[in-house]
């Protein structure tokens, strides 16, 4: 990508170097899309070019085809939204058959988010996806319910986070990103567990579990009762967690949670994330991630920043 393609102010001096390195994953810039908010990348082509981004993360994948939860699957809340999509996806084999080749056509990096209902599911996904060069890395979603343990999310148990990370890592040679759930008392404990399990990168945060009630109908708004909160409402929580993990753990981080504009994204970089993922904002403006990238570049010009890496974790004081 050349910066000429973006809407930026060229009056300033040096073109900033936006490349970031997240362990084994080298990206041309630090703006990514969050899983589940960008489809498989092709749905948004009328609105923007996904290839200008550092990477795209595609819809969460499970071993079996999943039809998802009943509707309503989305509820607007103050400065946020709840979703309970229920990981609707075509399943591993159909994904390989129908999607991988198309993903290979992107010139940017493609990360695949994997979800399981048992440790075994993660093993199957990692093994089966390992040979595909179209995939730049796996993002392991540990926020879904663990059927073997009564539906409690894997991501709330450090032993399970460790076990899943280790087993995926043993079967997948490429970069393994563990996406942490914020629905825990101590996020650093979970980050440590993923680190010990061999994670290359951590991404945080997933959605915060929430609910909404329609008082007229005396019914929950979501068909599935509870759902994940995202959007501007969660940003301060996400930022705090990124900051805490960055201070404690020596792993590259992808920060996400309510990033709507470039200022939000820069906050995450300053808090210690090496890259950011844009999620809910894609639903409101499918070109949001590109606008955020443009804003970051303009900030670099304004602040005379030659290398984006110089602002990562660069809070003063």
């Amino acid at each position: 990508m050349s910066n000429d393609e973006l809407s930026i102010d060229h009056t300033a001096k040096n073109e900033p170097d936006l490349r970031v390195r997240l362990g084994p994953l080298q990206l041309k810039n630090p703006v990514l899309t969050a899983s589940g908010t960008f489809g498989y990348g092709d749905e948004v082509r009328d609105f923007m070019d996904p290839n200008v981004l550092g990477a795209i993360t595609v819809k969460g994948l499970t071993v079996e085809p999943t039809s998802g939860n009943k509707t309503p699957r989305i509820a607007e809340t103050p400065a946020g939204m709840l979703n309970s999509i229920g990981l609707e996806n075509p399943g591993l084999e159909k994904f390989i058959e129908e999607k991988i080749e198309l993903l290979g056509e992107f010139s940017t990096e493609v990360l695949v988010n994997i979800s399981g209902h048992s440790v075994e599911d993660f093993i199957i996904l990692a093994e089966r996806l390992a040979p595909f060069e179209e995939i730049a890395g796996l993002e392991v979603n540990v926020s879904c319910p663990n059927i073997d343990k009564g539906g409690m999310a894997f991501g709330t148990d450090p032993d399970l986070v460790y076990e899943i990370t280790r087993k995926v890592k043993a079967r997948y040679d490429g970069p393994v990103i563990v996406k942490l759930s914020p629905n825990v008392t101590d996020i650093v404990e979970m980050a440590q567990a993923a680190d010990e399990g061999g994670a290359d990168i951590l991404s945080l945060i997933n959605t915060l579990l929430g609910m909404a009630i329609n008082v007229q109908k005396r019914e929950t708004v979501l068909g599935n009762t509870m759902g994940g909160l995202s959007g501007p409402a969660v940003k301060p929580v996400a930022l705090r967690m990124v900051y805490e993990v960055a201070e404690a753990i020596d792993l590259p981080l992808i920060g996400m949670g309510g990033i709507m504009n470039s200022e939000d994204a820069l906050e995450f970089l300053l808090a210690g994330a090496s890259a950011v993922s844009v999620g809910t904002a894609n639903l409101i403006d499918p070109a949001a991630s590109v606008n955020i990238l443009e804003g970051i570049i303009n900030y670099c010009y304004e602040q005379e920043i030659d290398d984006i890496n110089s602002i990562i974790g660069a809070l003063k004081g």
Binding site: S67, E76, L283
Partner: protein, 342 residues
């Protein structure tokens, strides 16, 4: 890369006024309303001012009307929640942005006899449809509402078009007393109670074929194949039907006979009907679908569901169809009546 392409399109409010008890009409000026703007498609409107995110999500609105010459888009909406409440307070001159037109539109046939059935606010997408189809098709519109005031605006606007309008209100204050579906059955000459729990369209077709075959050979077995619960009159009706042959039946008999003939796989309605369009409350859509399936009348339905992105990425607005989950925003909002599971 074309930067313009990526941006949601700006629109300026020309007019935003109350046009009925709960109905508001918003006219928006935008650029380039071209041939992509077809009936049944929708726009995804950002209610919050630029760079702000409250309300966070866009709101989908079907195209009520468009003025291609002057690039004006009309949206009809009901105040049902926070977003539409905020929307109702916006004044002319304010600017909004939208994505669209999005989704798939209605099919646009020529030279057909068409019945459109709209319930309440669901009638909105049928206006542009009827306006664009009225020149080359014969259209009857059935308008349903609880009260006269629910249908008044539509009655007035649809009155501009060269179509036949029939009105049903629950309290009988306007037109027929009853539901739009009751009036539809009356219009089609269908026995009010004759259509109950129905199989899906494909099953209906095969059932009808079976019935037809069975009837050709041994008409006495018809009842075992026909799962229609015709209640106490059924025996008599069947007898009439079987015996009537080609004789000209009276009005009552005609209705009965038509139904039976249709059950046997023939489509020979008293009112010839080529195509159905419908939009409205789900209970109404479900009843219209049953009639459509029962008589094998093809049709299309405009579905509504809570949406996130409007462009097919978030999978919030799925509906159940014979082809599995489909996205209302992407594969819809217009679906074949035969395909949806309501």
């Amino acid at each position: 890369m074309n930067i313009e392409k990526k941006k949601p399109k700006p629109a300026e409010i020309l007019e935003n006024k109350k046009v009925g008890t709960d109905y508001y009409l918003m006219k928006l000026k935008t650029d380039n309303i071209d041939e992509k703007w077809t009936p049944g498609r929708f726009v995804h409107l950002k209610i919050s001012t630029p760079q702000t995110y409250d309300p966070l999500l866009r709101r989908p609105f079907s195209l009520f009307d468009i003025d291609r010459k002057n690039n004006i888009l009309s949206l009809l909406y009901c105040v049902v929640g926070r977003g539409t409440k905020i929307m109702s307070r916006l004044v002319s001159g304010e600017k909004l942005d939208f994505l669209g037109p999005l989704g798939q539109g209605f099919s646009l046939p020529e030279g057909k006899t068409i019945l459109a059935v709209g319930g309440g606010m669901g009638t909105a997408p049928l206006f542009l449809l009827c306006r664009e189809l009225a020149f080359q098709n014969s259209i009857t519109l059935i308008l349903g509402g609880n009260l006269c005031t629910d249908v008044e605006f539509f009655k007035h606007r649809f009155g501009e078009l060269d179509i036949d309008i029939k009105i049903a209100t629950m309290d009988g204050s306007c037109g027929y007393k009853g539901t739009a579906v009751d009036l539809m059955k009356k219009h089609l000459g269908v026995n009010k109670d004759s259509i109950s729990k129905e199989p899906t369209s494909e099953q209906t077709i095969s059932k009808n074929l079976n019935n037809k075959r069975t009837n050709d050979k041994k008409p006495n077995n018809k009842r075992t194949n026909n799962k229609q619960p015709n209640k106490k009159e059924s025996n008599q009706k069947e007898k009439n039907n079987k015996e009537s042959g080609s004789k000209e039946p009276n009005r009552e008999e005609s209705i009965i006979q038509e139904k039976k003939v249709k059950d046997a796989g023939f489509i020979e309605q008293k009112k010839k009907l080529d195509f159905l369009y419908t939009c409205g409350p789900e209970i109404m859509l479900s009843a219209v679908k049953k009639i459509s399936d029962h008589f094998g009348i093809p049709g299309e339905v405009s579905l509504e569901e809570r949406m996130g992105c409007g462009i097919g990425i978030c999978l919030s607005c799925v509906c159940d169809t014979q082809n599995g989950n489909q996205r209302v925003c992407k594969e819809g909002p217009i679906f074949r009546l035969q395909e949806v599971i309501l």
